[in-house]
């Protein structure tokens, strides 16, 4: 249902410390992110009505709320993978429009990197073997191999090349070189990417997201609150959610992700088209994730993703600047990256990005992909 009003805005956005944080608990990253985002908005702890978070602590998000001494009136702990925060934006928008809250915080914090180093958890998570999973789990389909099979299918179906996939990593690194907060900033060539160790064919190590410690938060508010916040509001113009599969055998077409539906719903909700978008933040767990999202959201035609990414379109001077912070491929990826997409999109629309700023960015598209193409949340943001 299309609405013309600009009645829900992102009024605060911030990141926690990032990168290599061996001595910090994820809970403290939540404090950093949430307090910085509220400060960014010119709001305080007492202003928070809703608190949305997932992935950490008992009875999420109650443990985090307790740790921060926030007393929310509503909560949400939607956990559909890295896209959870994009899903939460729609839910927050709905709650604000329904008058259930004026201010809602979305917060994320994770010590993925240090947890892996300490052996607290494995890289490839297992989800048990009960119910339908007992027909998946025995076959050793690692997370990366699931993405690899999607890439292989796209290459077969459309002739997409390894070089085209690799170019996505190179563009991410170019943006990272312009972002002081990015973890990896040295230039990368297509050859560097393809020569890095093969993890699961055709995905080489440099086509996979990095592992980081870190977090982020955004603050959403109604229009009345937005007017008294520190910065110009970044309006939520529309949002859409879509879910697909957990068993890869239940996924019908490996070239069509739930981004087809989440994008369609978001654009319809906002009354916009892909051509209206100035800057895009797409989940980049792997290079193939970006390529499929570009096609499925309608930024290029099915099968043309390879040519599109190779053409320079994603770069700063290109037709569709994408992942301007350096992405999960070069900036940061603590496991569930969705909040980073929202923070960077907000900063772009506020003209805060310095050397990586997209000139005159007025409309941003944020699209998070969760699980293994299991979920997709798309959000459209705009400034006055």
């Amino acid at each position: 249902m299309r609405r013309e009003e600009r009645d829900v805005a992102i009024v605060g956005a911030a990141l926690s410390d990032l990168g290599r944080l061996d001595d910090v608990a994820a809970h403290d990253l939540h404090f950093q992110a949430t307090s910085r985002a509220l400060d960014d908005a010119g709001l305080g702890k007492v202003d928070v009505d809703g608190f949305f978070s997932c992935g950490l602590g008992t009875l999420a998000p109650i443990e985090i709320c307790e740790y921060l001494d926030i007393r929310p009136t509503i909560v949400n702990s939607t956990m559909v993978g890295g896209s959870s925060w994009e899903f939460m934006v729609l839910d927050a928008m709905s709650a604000i429009r329904a008058g259930q809250a004026s201010v809602i915080v979305l917060s994320y914090g994770s010590t993925l990197r240090s947890d892996l180093r300490k052996g607290v958890r494995p890289s490839n998570l297992a989800f048990g073997g009960a119910g339908p999973l007992q027909f998946d789990e025995p076959f050793g389909h690692t997370l990366i191999s699931k993405y690899a099979m999607a890439a292989r299918r796209h290459m077969w179906q459309y002739g997409t090349t390894e070089e085209q996939l690799a170019s996505i990593s190179c563009v991410a690194r170019e943006y990272a070189s312009l972002n002081p907060g990015a973890y990896y900033r040295e230039p990368l060539s297509v050859d560097d990417v393809l020569q890095s160790p093969m993890v699961a064919d055709p995905l080489t190590k440099l086509q996979c997201c990095i592992r980081s410690d870190g977090g982020g938060a955004i603050v959403l508010a109604d229009a009345e609150t937005a007017r008294r916040c520190r910065k110009e509001p970044v309006w939520v113009l529309g949002a859409g959610q879509a879910v697909s599969h957990v068993s890869m055998s239940e996924w019908d077409d490996f070239c069509l992700t739930p981004a087809v539906e989440s994008g369609r719903r978001a654009f319809e909700h906002a009354g916009l088209k892909p051509a209206d978008v100035d800057v895009v933040q797409l989940y980049d767990s792997f290079t193939i994730t970006v390529l499929l999202a570009l096609e499925n959201l309608g930024f290029c035609s099915p099968g043309e993703g390879g040519a599109f990414v190779e053409s320079g379109s994603l770069g700063l001077g290109g037709a569709l600047p994408t992942n301007t912070d350096g992405g999960g491929l070069s900036h940061a990826h603590p496991g569930h990256r969705g909040i980073f997409l929202l923070v960077e999109a907000t900063r772009q629309l506020r003209d805060e990005c310095g050397p990586r700023q997209v000139r005159d960015a007025a409309v941003a598209c944020v699209s998070g992909m969760g699980g293994w193409f299991s979920s997709s949340g798309t959000v459209l943001l705009g400034r006055d």
């Binding site: 890289s123 297992a126 009960a130 007992q134 050793g140 990366i144 077969w156 160790p197 993890v199 068993s247």
Partner: protein
Amino acid sequence: MEVAPQVSGLPSIVIDGHSEHWWRAAARGSLLVTECPDCGILTYPPRRFCPTCWCPATAWKRCTGNGYVYSWSVVRQRDNCPAYLEVPYVVAMVDLIEGPRLATVLYDPRTEPQIGAPCQVRFVEVAEGTHLPFFEIIDVKHGGVS
């Protein structure tokens, strides 16, 4: 009949009163899916009910074991996978000729797998008493399905 809750060699697998039949059939070299008596749709992973039309009962159907490779990848870095697997191993999605798609492993592929290649189920005992349906690419030069 006592239902053994665990599968030897695969400690995370939990068999239930329905799936137990699938695992016993696998031990006998039979690849089963479930079939709806109302709408005829074949379902995998198997279920007691039909997910398409919600008919509350299904029947077991034995498949020929013939199928085609839908996609594949060679896993080269071991990462929290079942103990019996050693890298490199080839994961694949296979579409059975009867319709359903399976997650599987390709058995000893000699050449790089091709999407669309015909293949046939080969049950492999990965731990004592535990048999899994792997798939073998059919060598068309020796009279396999073209």
